[in-house]
Amino acid sequence: MAAKNRGMAAGDGGLAIENGGVTMKDGGVAAKHDRERPHDHLAAWLAVGRAFDLLTVPLVITALYFAMVRAPEAAGDTGGIVQRVFYFHVPFAMAAFLGFGIVLVASIGFLAHGRRSWDATAEAAAETGLLCCTIVLLTGPVWARFAWGAWWTWDARLTSTLVLWLIYAGYLVLRAYMADDARVRRYAAVLGIIGALNVPIVYLSVRWFRTQHPETLISKRGGLDPSMAVALRMGMLAVFTVFAALLVKRLLLGRLETRVAALRAGLDARE
């Protein structure tokens, strides 16, 4: 029952972590504790994770094809070949928002119902959301360097993304530096709500503060060439699937950790 991490080649967008090996279905120590075992639907989650894994590779390849080949070269000062990063840059920004949105909903859910799974969802979504946010912050400056001649321009959207990154990095720092107990879960939920409440205010303030982004490319639907819109939609489909695959993996990991900790406690008590 060894944990195997085969097929970790992420370069091609393949997200297959073979974590079947760590399921406790066949685990010897699990048998006695079956009655006390939490209803965590591990097998179902594992199947969902596998499905997303299988979907990611073709979807990412298709999205790359649309972004690199099918979409026409964009014009204007933010155009040129580097604009082709747009078809992944923007979906990752949306996925980051989705992740932080899940953090808000799960945090409220946890404070309202106190169920552990809400908290685990919030933590997993914060981590995957922060990963997407990091990708936005890595690709944005590359595009900016080409389009505006500087890696960082204090442009409105990049700057507010940076602030978001800082807020949710702080959220994960709080979780990392406190023991995983009932208290930190409540604290994290409060912080998850405060952070999300702040997002619209950050966006407004930074937009008034400064704006330089290619607005026409994003805000005006008519401004976006139809084949560009298709490529963007393909990118969104691929990135959202990658996001979902990662989120499910992270959730599964959290559940496994919880269950192993429970088993350890049970074994310690018996000895």
């Binding site: 404070l111 800082l166 720092v173 709080l174 604290y187 205010i201 008034w208 503060f209």
Partner: protein, 230 residues
Amino acid sequence: MSPWLRAVGAILRKDLLLEWRSREALTSMAFFALLVTVLFGFSFDAGRIDRDIMAETLGPGLLWIAFSFSGVLGLNRSFAIEREGGCLQALMLAPVNRSAVFAGKMLGNLLLIGLVEVLTIPIFSILMRVSVLSCLPRLALVAFLGTLGFSAVGTLLSALASGSRLREVLLPLLLYPVWVPVLIAATQLTGQALGGRPAAEGERWLALIAAYDIVFITAGLLLFDHLLEE
């Protein structure tokens, strides 16, 4: 007077009395703000900076950085003293709504940080050669609204951070990112005031700070309960 207001008043009075007897927080915060100002003066060679630039961009930035840095000292103390000697348990046992504890603590922090600002602004004015007398009402309004938001978020987060083992470090890490919108708005408004520009320019920034204050005071009143149950 409603029991809720009486509870708020009692907690506020307790904090102010405690501070009045020791004056520890006030002294350390004001001294720290002075140090930030002096260090800023040296590091940016303040004597050679154009006066308009100082009044409109560098000065407001310095002022709000000094307020933010010294404010965190006060906030950290605000709950550290409660954790000593089981005061927090006593507060939790008190038959009052927890939101009253938040409101009392927040007002105490507001007064304390406000007092530090009152002491810092004249020193800033002299050292940085920026005249503040002509725009004092505008400056006071910005300082009040900004500090109100700072105290609201700060009180909530300091209760949160004080429960962890690296509380002094954790608070600024959590607070400053959330504080960014008001920092932007407050420095813009302060720059407009010190630069003598028309007040109408800053109306939307004032609205933004007011909205922030309302959102986070409400959030504090509603969420504080979850931070105190042990």
